[in-house]
């Protein structure tokens, strides 16, 4: 009797403390949008670019308040976010602001002069460039003051705690691990903590090898501190992000794959500095592959090698490695983020401020608006200065120079190839750290190029067309199959079934087509990929031979940016069965959904400045979202 009472009391306590968990099943998960990659004035580069907004301001922005851009205008998000992590660079965390401190040795460092005198955009760029070799070559011991780093880190943690409102708005403690190979090959990742975080972040100054970062995360996890690392800008990694070798050039093995997957379940596929889904040269049969391609290594004009730099190829490479008994280190889900350096993400094409403050804060600086004659002259002088600087720099450390400017009336800068993007979508039970973090860990996530597109994907057996209109579809789909990010085991040599589903952003254009992207490995161990349209706007059937929707004639008026209102759907759904399935072939499947075309930021910039748009920049964009894949295993 006594025990029963105790049990009853315990039951009541559980029911009171976690009522939502008790009620919420997988079918109650809802899509939430957030930002997982954001720099405040505490990042060395952001401060140089003129950002004076700290972490609190960044959270204010995410919750819907306007904050100020370095050039003085207001930045306000269209719809507040559900969650956000502030991820400042761990290396030199808080150091540049500290260079303003005459008591610190840092102020006397040779690079300080360039930094403190930087005023114009050109000078800021030069100052930033001056700092890079120091970071790259590890001569920074005389620059680094760990007291400042620790204090700054404590402030970042405190700000996250202050601004966390479980159930309403979730904050994560996080930072960016800004590693590379020898020079500029981007191996950056953001580390996001599930709850509390250690006293000090693990930065590139401790080790440039990401494997050591993962081991550090492993050891924290053993102490009860869970975290994940999210790589980004593989497009600028010169082929190293998704290489077939380890950081040191060794063969990848099962231990490496397990270590990586334990710590890096998701990847940031799209952000302001371009989209890394795939490259037209790798996916020649994908008509939509040429999307927001950013061809340079980060902070340079040097070309980034395509092989090893894009997500879809990484998925294929993962299948190959698995077939070779090395494990699959590239079985990751997808999100997007902005990587803003002004504490506020630019997600909308029509309200775009790029991301590096005073350096790219106007249409002219981004190459979207025509220059006056004096500005053109200035640009030429800048080009010559850059050329001279490069000539006087050792070859390995050169940041390169731009090729011939295809539109000489406009500036041509690295950020001319950037764009408004992107958001992280998660399917989580509630808006709390635990719930959202768990969603990221199980890869039930999706990525958008900016708009709040929502995507679902289920894979399994025994799905049918009727389910699409069954009010209990989601519950049944979870019961019979797996959701995005999951693995499914092939059964009896039968082609797997999928349910694909996407809805538009009520504040953006309607949907044009819903697609399935498949990659697989054949009996010879060779991989392939194919894009299938699965549903078309206006209830038009997909052509069964080409696997394409007919053109829906969606148009954009480049004078006003008005777009067709009479074509496109609010939601697209499909029950899709793989027509090319062969028993025994492992595969991955992910959804891509495309909006009707709308004006790209460069067109908006030109219209507002009454300028002719830059003919070398793409005028329109088909905003999109990508689901995490489902892997079919045999």
């Amino acid at each position: 009797m006594k025990i029963n009472k105790k049990l009853a009391a315990l039951g009541a306590a559980i029911a009171i403390s976690v009522p939502q968990l008790a009620l919420a099943g997988a079918e109650d998960r809802r899509a939430m949008f957030g930002e997982t990659h954001l720099h405040t004035n505490l990042s060395f580069d952001a401060f140089i670019f003129g950002n004076r907004n700290g972490p609190d301001a960044a959270y204010d922005f995410a919750k819907g308040k306007a904050i100020t851009h370095p050039l003085g205008f207001d930045m306000k998000i269209r719809v507040p976010l559900d969650f956000q992590a502030v991820t400042d660079h761990a290396a030199y965390l808080g150091m540049v602001p500290a260079m303003f401190d005459p008591e610190s040795a840092v102020a006397n460092h040779p690079i300080a002069a360039g930094l403190r005198n930087a005023k114009t955009a050109g000078e800021r760029r030069a100052a930033f460039g001056g700092l890079l070799p120091y970071i790259g070559q590890q001569v920074e011991d005389d620059l680094l003051d760990m007291n400042i780093v620790r204090d700054t880190w404590a402030e970042i943690k405190a700000s996250a705690e202050r601004n966390n409102e479980p159930g309403k708005f979730t904050t994560f403690i996080g930072y960016e691990y800004t590693s590379s190979q020898e020079t500029f090959e981007n191996l950056h990742r953001n580390v996001i903590f599930k709850g509390d975080a250690p006293k000090e972040p693990f930065s590139r100054l401790v080790s440039m090898n990401p494997e050591n970062l993962w081991r550090w995360m492993d050891s924290l996890r053993e102490q009860g501190m869970d975290s994940i690392a999210i790589p980004h800008n593989s497009n600028g990694s010169d082929g190293y992000m998704f290489s077939d070798k380890t950081y040191d050039g060794a063969e990848i093995d099962k231990d490496y794959a397990a270590l990586r997957m334990r710590n890096e379940p998701i990847v940031e596929v799209s952000q302001v500095k371009g989209t890394s889904e795939t490259h037209p040269l790798q996916s020649p049969n994908d008509e939509w592959a040429a999307f927001e391609i950013m061809p340079y290594q980060i902070a340079t004009w040097n070309d980034s090698k395509i092989d090893g730099s894009y997500v879809r190829q990484a998925y294929r490479r993962g299948l190959e490695m698995q077939a070779q008994g090395k494990g699959n280190p590239y079985k990751f889900g997808l999100i997007s983020a902005s990587d803003t350096h002004v504490s506020a993400g630019a997600f909308d094409e029509y309200d775009y401020w790029s991301k590096i403050g005073a350096v790219d804060g106007t249409g002219r600086l981004r190459g979207a608006v025509r220059l006056t004659w004096s500005q053109r002259l200035g640009a030429q002088i800048f080009r010559m200065q850059n050329w001279w600087r490069q000539v006087n720099t050792p070859v390995a450390q050169r940041t390169g120079w731009p090729g011939k400017n295809p539109a000489p009336g406009y500036l041509q800068m690295q950020w001319s190839s950037w764009g408004a993007s992107g958001l992280a979508g998660v399917w989580a039970e509630e808006n709390t750290r635990a719930s959202i973090f768990d969603a990221m860990r199980r890869k039930e996530t999706f990525a958008t190029s900016g708009p709040r597109l929502k995507v679902r994907l289920f894979g399994g057996y025994g799905f049918n067309d009727k389910m699409l209109n069954d009010p209990q579809m989601v519950r049944k789909a979870y019961a019979r199959g797996v959701s995005m990010g999951g693995d499914m085991k092939a059964r009896l040599g039968r082609a797997p079934d999928f349910l694909l589903w996407a809805t538009q952003d009520p504040g953006s254009a309607p949907l044009q087509r819903l697609q399935m992207v498949k990659g697989w490995i054949d009996a010879e161990g060779k991989t392939h990929e194919k894009v299938y349209d699965a549903a078309c706007a206006g209830n038009v059937p997909v052509d069964a031979t080409t696997n394409r929707c007919p053109d829906n004639n969606a148009k954009v008026d480049l004078k006003s940016c008005a777009y067709s209102a009479d074509t496109g759907d609010g939601e697209l759904k499909a029950h899709w069965q793989d027509p090319d399935y062969k028993p025994g072939e492992n595969a991955f499947y992910y959804v891509r959904v495309l909006e009707n075309p709308t004006c790209r930021w460069s067109t908006w910039d030109a219209i507002r400045a009454n300028s002719k748009p830059n003919p070398s920049l793409v005028a329109t964009i088909q905003e999109r979202a990508w689901s995490s894949p489902i892997w079919l295993e045999h």
Binding site: R30, A31, L71, V79, M99, F100, D101, P102, A105, A107, A112, R116, N117, K119, T120, A121, G122, E123, M146, N147, R150, A358, G361, T362, R364, L365, L371, T372, S374, Q375, L377, G378, A379, I381, F382, L411, K454, R456, L468, N469, D470, P471, Q472, M473, V474, W501, A502, T503, Q504, D505, P506, G507, P510, G570, E571, A609
Partner: protein
């Protein structure tokens, strides 16, 4: 003897020697005056040790302590030399740092006393709008294929709604929402849908209502009138806001005071002020040069 002294006084050599001694003494005295002292006392050593401990999380050993003190001496000497050369005069880092310190001081000095209940009450009354909640709706809906189906489902539901969860098509978002403001609703479903619901008066299922996604049959369960906030439950939040306001006001006042002491002498700028502006990239060089010329002439 006197004779001897007079003779001596007449001897130029002796005056030369005396003058030499005086000059030498004066030089030594001046040198001594220039000789500076760096004081190494216990509080300083404790400070150095504390900084060291912060970095290494252990106490320095004797050799490390020596190095710390030596480092401090070296830094101090160099800083003094820099000051002697006037390097601190126009150093932007130092200027900004000093400005920053004053700003911190101004912000720090302002909020000393905790507000009392009465002040908070008054502040709350003056800023009611901040705390009131707007009108919100708790509503349910069924997502359907077409306008016609919407009407059909509406009729069914108005007769018997017990099975409403199993009607219509699956919907990407929730079927049921609690306490949504018009702004929240429009972000979720589109402005047209939000407007329709907030103008709705019937308590029955209503159709058709169109959203960005398609057609809906909608029922508003509860219309929560805009609500005036009560003071007591919000007192902590009010206190936070009050202190924030106080700090901002005090900062503004302190700033106005400082600013009032300064008279500005504005140069006329002859350079055109276009969007290019000072921050404008490569062309900034030109803009600055033009402005500098205009100013120096004024």
């Amino acid at each position: 003897m006197q004779e001897g002294l007079r003779k001596l006084a007449q001897d130029r050599l002796i005056w030369f020697v005396i003058l030499g001694v005086l000059l030498f003494a004066a030089d030594r005295w001046l040198q001594a005056r220039e000789q500076q002292v760096i004081k190494i006392d216990l509080p300083l050593v404790e400070k150095l040790v504390a900084q060291w401990e912060g970095q290494t999380e252990r106490r320095p050993n004797a050799r490390e302590l020596d190095a710390l003190i030596e480092g401090h001496i070296r830094e101090e000497i160099l800083v003094r030399e820099a000051a002697r050369l006037g390097l601190d005069d126009d150093d932007i880092i130092i200027r900004r740092r000093l400005a920053q310190k004053v700003e911190f001081m101004m912000a720090d000095e302002t909020v000393k006393d905790l507000p009392n209940r009465e002040q908070l009450r008054r502040f709350f009354d003056e800023n009611r709008a901040e705390y009131d909640t707007p009108e919100t709706l708790s509503w349910r809906h069924v997502f359907v294929e077409s306008e016609a189906q919407a009407r059909q489902v509406q009729a069914v539901l108005n007769a018997d709604e017990s099975d409403w969860q199993n009607k219509g098509k699956p919907f990407m978002l929730n079927r049921q929402y609690a306490r949504q403001s018009e702004l929240e609703l429009s972000r979720l479903m589109g402005t047209q849908f939000a407007l329709a619901l907030f103008q709705e008066t019937t308590k029955d299922w209503r159709a058709p209502v169109q959203s960005a996604f398609g057609w809906h049959v909608v029922k508003i369960d509860t219309r929560h009138a805009a609500q005036q906030a009560a003071f007591e439950p919000l007192i902590e939040r009010v206190a936070r806001d009050y202190q924030k306001m106080q700090r901002q006001q005090a900062l503004a006042a302190a700033w106005a005071e400082l600013r009032g002491r300064i008279r500005l002498n504005l140069c006329r700028l002859r350079a055109p002020q276009n969007e290019a502006g000072l921050a404008h990239g490569a062309s900034g060089h030109f803009a600055r040069r033009i402005i500098a010329r205009a100013c120096s002439g004024a």
